[in-house]
C-alpha cells in the first residue's frame, strides 16, 4: 500500500513592510462637469450640449467619466471604445478642442474648474453623439496599399532585415488608426479630399521598409493633387497623435522620397 503523503501547502509569501510604506493614501477626488456634444439624427437634426456632473478620482480618465455618464446618468450617450487602454484606437475624440484618446487622457491633467468639452472628431460625418463614420478615413488607408508587396518567388525562409533597416520606419509602425491625426488636419476639414496624415504615415511604413517592393507605386499614389503636397506642415497631426508618432516628419520624408524619385 502506498503511504499517503500529505503535502504541506507552501506558506503565503510575506513581506514585512514598515508602517507607512505601501499604502498610497487616499486617492484624491474632485467634481467635474462633462459637456458632451449630442446629436441623434433619429430624433432631431439639431446639435445640443449636455452637461453631466459627477465626482471622479485622480486616477480616472475621460473615458471613465463617459462610462459613469452612460452607466449611471444617461444611457443614450453614444461613443466607441474597445480596449479602453490606448491600443485599439476606437475612442479618439475632441477633448477641450484637442484630438485625444479618451482612454489616455487623465481628468486631473485637464482644467476641472471648467466643464470638459467632449466632441466627436472633426471632418468626418457624425453618426450619433461621439460616433463618426470612419469609412472615408479607411478608404484613404486602403488606397495606399497597407500591406507588404514583394516581387519574385515566395521565399523559403524569413525575410531578413537589419536593425538599422527596421529602425528606418520604426516610428510609423506605431499607428493604431484612431484618426486623431487626420481629423485634426485643417486641410482635411475643408473637403475631405486630402489623403490625410494617417494614410501617409502608413504608406511611409512600407515605402521605407527594405522588404517591400511597391514603394514606387505608393509614392505615385501620394504624388496626387490630394496627396502629400496638400500638407501645410501645421503640425496638428504630430500634436494629436496618441502614439507620439512624428507625423509631420514622416510626411516630409515621403515628400523628399517623391522628389528624389522624380527630379
Amino acid at each position: 500500500m502506498s503511504t499517503q503523503t500529505t503535502e504541506t501547502p507552501e506558506p503565503a509569501s510575506k513581506v514585512e513592510l514598515p508602517a507607512g510604506v505601501g499604502g498610497g493614501g487616499e486617492i484624491p477626488t474632485f467634481d467635474i462637469t462633462l459637456r458632451v456634444r449630442r446629436y441623434n439624427p433619429e430624433v432631431s437634426d439639431e446639435v445640443r450640449w449636455d452637461d453631466f456632473s459627477m465626482t471622479m478620482y485622480g486616477t480616472d480618465r475621460v473615458l471613465d467619466a463617459l462610462h459613469k455618464t452612460k452607466w449611471e446618468q444617461d444611457g443614450s450617450v453614444s461613443f466607441r471604445r474597445s480596449c479602453a487602454h490606448g491600443v485599439c484606437g476606437s475612442d479618439a475624440m475632441r477633448i477641450n478642442g484637442r484630438n485625444r484618446l479618451a482612454c489616455k487622457t487623465l481628468l486631473k491633467d485637464l482644467d476641472t474648474s471648467k466643464p470638459i468639452l467632449v466632441e466627436p472628431i472633426k471632418g468626418l460625418p457624425v453618426e450619433k453623439d461621439l460616433i463618426v463614420d470612419m469609412e472615408p478615413f479607411f478608404q484613404s488607408y486602403r488606397e495606399i496599399m497597407p500591406f507588404l508587396v514583394s516581387k519574385g518567388h515566395e521565399p523559403s525562409r524569413e525575410r531578413l532585415q537589419s536593425s538599422e533597416e527596421r529602425e528606418r520606419f520604426d516610428d510609423t509602425t506605431k499607428c493604431i488608426l484612431c484618426a486623431a491625426c487626420t481629423s485634426s488636419c485643417p486641410v482635411f476639414w475643408t473637403d475631405g479630399q486630402y489623403f490625410g496624415p494617417a494614410a501617409i504615415v502608413n504608406a511611409h511604413r512600407f515605402i521605407f521598409d527594405s522588404r517591400d517592393d511597391a514603394g514606387d507605386m505608393r509614392l505615385e499614389i501620394l504624388n496626387d493633387k490630394e496627396g502629400v503636397w496638400r500638407c501645410r506642415t501645421t503640425f496638428n497631426c504630430t500634436e494629436a497623435c496618441p502614439r507620439g508618432i512624428q507625423v509631420t516628419k514622416a510626411i516630409a520624408e515621403v515628400k523628399q522620397a517623391i522628389l528624389a524619385r522624380n527630379v
Binding site: 473637403d191 496626387d224 490630394e226 503636397w229
Partner: protein
C-alpha cells in the same frame, strides 16, 4: 419569418469624400518645389533691393523718378527687377492658389476665385514686364523733348 440583414457598410464611402479621378503629372510637386526655391532667391533679391533703395546713399530721400530711371538704364537692374517681379508674382499667386484650395469648399467657388487670381497675376506680370523694358524717362512727345535735369540736353 425571415429577417433582412443589411450588408455591412464596409467600403461604402459617402460620395463627398470620393476623390474625382487621379491627377496626372507632377504639377503639385513642381509647384511645391518652386515655392521653396523662389522663396530663397526672393529673400536675396528683395533685401538687396530694399537696402539699395531705402538705406544706401541718400536713403529714402534719394528716391524719385530720376533714381528709378537711372537704375533701369542699367541692364543688371532691369534683369534684377524683372526676376523679382516674376518670382514674387508667381510665388504669391501660387501661395494664394493653395489658400483657395484649402479654404474654398465648393468647386465652383474655387474656380471663380482662381479665375480672378490668375487674371490679376497675368495683368500685373505683363504690365510690369512692359514697363521695365519700354521705360523711357525722357520721351519725345509731339516733337517736344522732355526737359529734366537727368535727361541729356537736346
Amino acid at each position: 419569418m425571415s429577417t433582412d440583414i443589411e450588408a455591412p457598410r464596409s467600403g461604402r464611402v459617402s460620395p463627398k469624400y470620393l476623390r474625382s479621378g487621379k491627377s496626372v503629372g507632377n504639377f503639385e510637386m513642381l509647384a511645391w518645389l518652386f515655392m521653396r526655391l523662389s522663396g530663397v532667391v526672393l529673400v536675396v533679391l528683395i533685401f538687396v533691393h530694399l537696402y539699395l533703395n531705402l538705406v544706401a546713399g541718400d536713403g529714402i530721400k534719394g528716391i524719385d523718378f530720376g533714381f528709378v530711371a537711372g537704375k533701369w538704364a542699367n541692364p543688371v537692374w532691369q534683369f534684377w527687377d524683372l526676376a523679382m517681379l516674376w518670382l514674387a508674382m508667381l510665388h504669391g499667386t501660387n501661395g494664394v492658389r493653395t489658400i483657395i484650395n484649402d479654404y474654398a469648399e465648393k468647386t465652383t467657388t474655387r474656380r471663380w476665385l482662381k479665375g480672378v487670381l490668375y487674371s490679376a497675376a497675368v495683368v500685373i506680370i505683363v504690365l510690369g514686364t512692359l514697363v521695365i523694358f519700354t521705360f523711357d524717362p525722357c520721351p519725345v512727345i509731339n516733337g517736344v523733348p522732355t526737359v529734366a535735369d537727368y535727361c541729356p540736353a537736346p
